[in-house]
Symmetry: D2
């Protein structure tokens, strides 16, 4: 099977495995008191040019998002998000569980992007302090988005300004943060806190790790209570070095950037090739995901060719999603293009 | 540092690392749809002689316990446990979070063991169906216990009979299940469902894995809703094969038994040697944990010798805990004995 | 002030006060073991021609709705509702709290009415049993609606059929059930369980009581756990006869019907008079609420005339809501019409 | 039946009913915006000599306790209480629900009183900030206690000092606060905030109202979020004047003091008479509750005489509880004494 189904269909990058193998011997203080975990926080401070940030490893993106949002959202609060956001659609109510029942306010927006305009009505609600209504407390935006698009720094900044103006915190779900960053070509700081992002779910699982994310607080005071929340949610891994060693390898020598650059390049080539073959894109291709409308015959050929791609009925009966990953092979990309083209 | 502090101070067993390395290549269906996960369930059915059991991998013991208990405990329910139980003392309220606010009823008992006698009053409460009071819904017992002792099958059976008689489900926290099993010398089935255990947190992390536990339902109907609960708690690992590959290696060739046998043997030798050196045991040593009263001078020598042992003030100012693990070296055991003896 | 602002701006009906005064003397078993409470259940069984129904008094409509929904919605469940529904907009996340974090899925629909068409997509989701997504478990419809309209029995039946077909329970928020019933002219049974309603929040507060609602289960098995839920939510009033005495007086001699008939008649006259005065209705007037577009000058005259009416910006800057109640005086209705007409 | 079973077996005091009757006419702003509610807060500020206090009416004591505790206890927090406390035993897990899963730490103590000594170990835990353990965040003491005893101001002060020293808030469950106050003979301020009480559930239901309590915050900043919590718990009564009118009548002319004084005097006379008749008290009688050991023959005579008293098996098979109330008749007290005495 040639995987274009999802980036979590992949295994782990060899360098991540090497790091794990090296970390397997010898004792280490459990529950995050180990050296790997300390080094990861230090490294992220460098990467983000943010000497005060706090970073906490967890094993899943759902945990990262829910724990971060719970730190800034009381039970009577609400989180503004795009209606297609992973937190809203694909986490089975995890944010609701971790916040003890806060509401997600799902908003529309082209290409899976939130806009200040769509946020205006709920932000007015936040100002009203009406006890009959939940109080918007946070906004979360996914970078890269669920449509494979990327917010520009200016777009992030506009959203963050609107949110902060109404007293909301700003969270970024960065399950594919590396792909977005490579696409933007700016620094990690410019992509996040310099635009007003307060908290980041720094994803690594989809881009070469096994199960590793970091919850990053650019405003350390927002992390108050985080460690209690993580523990009682069962997300304080006892042999934490095992998560942190993945993250260390991921950051080492900018492996994360290289991996994302490769995945994005594959996606760009795929988009180019498919477009040339007459396939219509459903969203601009700005990171490592591609959404297209593909005729049934082409889909049949793709399936027969041993490729995994995913039907995407929300975009129409002929829509499919393809995802490129750190280990997508160039020859598979070319073969997929040729297969679609019917060559 | 020679680790006698805890079994989660260790890394992973080489065979677990090998299995992970082998699993790292190639695509696999995410979220538990992979072959490793299917094989682990099949293997556990064999191990437990229970063809209908359901088994679900998770990454932490706290998650395993809380998810299992939540399946059988409504928000107005209560879970009977020993007052020293990990779920009561060391999980920062995780069972309360996962059950949406059920109560733990902490009961006394020598050597960290529950007894039907201690359970009598709350079981009467369960029968009363008094809406002013929480309704006991489950009992959980830790095997091996937090005192390093082991319930006999007869003890488990007596507890389970009492619980079932009052309509409660029976959960076993098996964070150190392998150590208990080796100590008992009976089959996995005889240690669990044949005595009335309904659900088992089958621990592997402490005994050679990185982060791998399985929630085992001997009564499959109790698992209804489990998969939703796991997902919304952020515990459905996307690259699930990585947890399952650990478990597969752990079960393969009875590595789990061998590891536990080694750890228990080290603990037995240590207990023998320390007793001979005049140290008094605080609990019988029946698995891989040793609790002793140790004079201050001996503790100082131990510390100076580079050993990690843990003060245990609940048993008195002179009490310490030592834990042997799958990778404890015999020479370290002997050296620790000699150090305590002051030789 | 002449109240057309809301039906909860009113006090209590004299007959309700008489009943309370009579109930004030002498001892009674607390927590709902009293005779008033038993009689109310019996009376509701007669009223609804449903000898097996269970009915539980509570003091607020938010409690009634949330407790009922929690009985049929697991934490990973979802409740389908109209986007303007009281449970979605005006209860500050109470259903989310009582269900331990379930989601409300807010759906569009003209005149604040749900339709099977709007429910189709989430009902398909319920069938899919996808653990990544919350599982629709209940639908709730408000009768009379938040727009002052009334579902016909056929409309209720169509919604209930669709819901039941996908395994969802059907709840009716009857905060203004009496007003809807009078409007329909059918029997209570025909308005509810004969169309497939499983649970009803039977409202009395807005129609002449102080603080009295009954949670009615037409399928008694759905009430399993209700009494525990009510107690732990703090809604088991100790001197329960005080709630039940209100309900008994409310039902006695069909006071509830007479009250609602009066309120509806006032609203109908008001709608007629305002329409004749050139005011445009925003929704059909089918119960005791009136939503209109009213020119600014008319609104100024109304305010100057000492009338309480409520701006309703969701319907536009010129929109207002007026509500008639059991104690609205005919002369106030006429005076309001004349004031708007500028006579 | 002559009620000595409980103070919530009673109805309402005539003055409370008069006030309700007067409040029943005319419009009032709903949801607590009415004049009655404002006056109650003002009156409580006078009564407690605390011009900044915030007071919020609710309808049940369980709601009052749970809402107050939730304001100061995070989900990973813990509440210290006596093991017999109403919040621990009789509220079916309400504090756990309202706090989203915090733990109650139940402590022993003679005559149902907490002591700083019993609190020492959990307070040390609070200081440790160990993420594996819940963090004690509040202490609650019941005044008068569940044993009918009364904390002295010095005892309250010692508890509050210990609590504050470890960063915990101090809550008083004053379901029978009036009875305690009359017993102490001090001012409301001296019984509460002058000893360090931060929050009070000011009970009125048991002492002459229908369903009326006030949550009183002596430190107004602790009330942040209270109004959202009350609403989403379904405890914001829409026709709030009806709760507040009860409270106003209760406070007017010190009705609350007179009622409690009568109840306490009846209890004192009863204790004196029963003791003279050879009955042994199980606890000192300091408020309106009496716990005694009563021979079976005496209990039979009491039952035959038409008295409601309650067996209290926690104190032994021969133990019973008797409660005097605002409307207990002196002749019933004398008749009960005579009946027990076998005269």
């Amino acid at each position: 099977m040639s995987n274009f189904g999802s980036d979590n269909v992949t295994g782990a990058h060899p360098k991540v495995m090497e790091a794990l193998a090296k970390a397997a011997d010898g004792p280490a203080i459990p529950y995050g008191g180990d050296d790997w975990t300390a080094r990861v926080e230090t490294r992220l401070r460098d990467v983000f040019e943010a000497p005060d940030l706090r970073a906490f490893p967890v094993a899943t993106g759902t945990a990262a998002n829910s724990l971060a949002l719970a730190c800034v959202t009381p039970p009577w609060g609400a989180v503004l998000c795009h209606q297609d956001a992973h937190v809203n659609v694909d986490e089975c109510g995890a944010p609701e569980m971790f916040t003890a029942g806060a509401k997600l306010i799902a908003l529309p927006g082209a290409d899976a992007k939130l806009t200040p305009e769509a946020m205006a009505a709920p932000l007015a609600l936040a100002a009203a302090r009406d006890v009959h209504r939940v109080r918007p407390s946070a906004v979360t935006l996914t970078q890269a988005t669920e449509a494979g698009t990327v917010y520009t720094p200016a777009e992030v900044s506009a959203i963050a300004d609107a949110a902060h103006g109404a007293g909301l915190a700003v969270h970024m779900d960065g399950a594919r943060f590396a792909n977005a960053l490579v696409s933007l070509g700016c620094s990690p700081a410019e992509a996040t806190w310099k635009q007003g992002v307060d908290m980041l779910s720094f994803g690594a699982t989809k881009n070469g790790c096994w199960a590793a994310e970091a919850v990053v607080f650019f405003k350390p005071e927002l992390a108050d209570g985080f460690e209690y929340r993580r523990k009682r949610a069962g997300h304080l891994v006892s042999k934490m070095r095992f998560v942190s060693a993945q993250l260390e390898a991921y950051l080492e020598g900018d492996l994360w950037i290289a991996n994302a650059r490769h995945a994005n390049a594959c996606a760009a080539r795929l988009a180019e090739g498919l477009t040339a073959a007459g396939v219509r894109l459903a969203h601009p291709v700005q990171a490592n995901e591609i959404f297209v409308h593909m005729p049934a015959e082409a889909r049949d050929r793709v399936k027969a060719g041993g490729f995994l791609i995913i039907p995407w009925p929300d975009l129409g009966p002929d829509a499919v999603r393809m995802v490129c990953a750190f280990n997508t092979r160039d020859e598979d990309v070319e073969r997929l293009i040729a297969t679609v083209a019917g060559a």
